[in-house]
Amino acid sequence: MGQQQRKAVALISGGLDSMLAARVVKDQGIHVEGLNFFTGFCVEGHTHAIRRVGKNKPKRNNSLWVAEQLGIKLHIIDVIEEYKDIVLNPAHGYGQNLNPCLDCKIFMVNKAKAWCEENKFDFIFTGEVVGQRPKSQRRETLPIIARESGADDRLLRPLCAKNLPATLPERESWVDREALFDFHGRNRKPQIALAESLGFSEYAQPAGGCCFLTDKAYAGKLADLWQSRGERDYELDDIMLLKVGRHLRPKPHYKLIVSREEGENNYLSGYRNEFISLESKSCNGPLALLDGEPRDDDIEQAAAIVARYGQGRDAEEVLVEVRMKNGDLRELSIKPLAADEVPGSWHV
């Protein structure tokens, strides 16, 4: 009687490490499927969809691309609502910015465990490497992830397994521990060498990670959003808009989101019924959304800022159309602010 084929689910980010881990486990005869969690903060997808910058790069979701290269199924799971609690109340605190990396990994492994149980899979694995990341991938934190996620010894890290105690899949010989790896630290050379030996000539190498919460500028905008609203909460549209345009807060009670290019103009125009919007009419210029409750003089100030970022910045006056949320329009003829009239402190 043949041995039962074991099934494992991989956390697939779209980067090199999870790609390698999945290939290594699959090559051991395990049936592998992938999970990818969409938190709303993922770098994947959105910015290249909104902005025209880098338009020559392939507009693809790297986790799907990786799954296709590996010949495995990938399930993308929307965790936007559940993830809020991780961002707002991380039990293990934040990393350098607003990144709750350790809680995030515990959350995702826990979701994978639930998926495993529902789909009768045997174990979970990730592309984690001990010592690679300062918050979540340290020798002290890897056991915390296994324990607090509830995955315990059904959580395998194929790329650094030999540096860790043997897990259930290794002890039961579902996988051959000797054919796994002992990578450690931030050096990427072993992964690159393994990729070459497996014939991977192309793989994603996201600069700065795969989550906007690790980004200092983005985290600053999120903190500003919470401060201005007097509460720590968000909706998907809020966190999407933080990825778009220049954000300027001239006064505590209002903020402007000014597009930087056509793609952002198009994206922001989809929010014209939810925000007051401003756009220069007498010359080319950006579309801007006004978030807050402005007074009349605030709208004039906002129009002068919008004019500053258009082609009429040196003109005596620019005609700016102001559209209220209900569709009412008014036009303001306004002198654009000079560069030195936009203090750095306004930039969020």
Binding site: N36, F38, C42, E44, G45, H46, H48, A49, I50, P58, K59, R60, N61, S63, L64, W65, A67, E68, I72, K73, L74, H75, I76, I77, D78, M240, G270
Partner: protein, 83 residues
């Protein structure tokens, strides 16, 4: 509607994924297809050009067939035969 493709049922369904950015159109497609049966046709309308790559990729991975992709103004229409 007449069956134009072998294996296609009489049942066709629409999914509006406009204004959603990837991967949300993929997730909505994935979740809708879970509720359908082999032979059903799903027409997905979206606006993120990334969906033109990602939805066919998801379909290939899961064994569903993209019958056509069209662009009408800013709408992208992807027709999928559920397998």
């Amino acid at each position: 509607m007449k069956c134009l493709v072998a294996g296609m049922s009489e049942n066709s369904f629409n999914l509006d994924a406009r204004r959603l950015l990837c991967p949300l159109p993929v997730i909505r497609t994935q979740d809708r297809i879970k509720e359908l049966v082999a032979g059903d046709l799903l027409k997905v309308t979206c606006t993120d050009p990334g969906a033109l790559v990602d939805i066919p990729s998801w379909c290939r991975i899961h064994g569903h067939e993209v019958i056509s992709t069209d662009t009408v103004d800013r709408d992208i229409i992807i027709r999928i035969l559920v397998k």
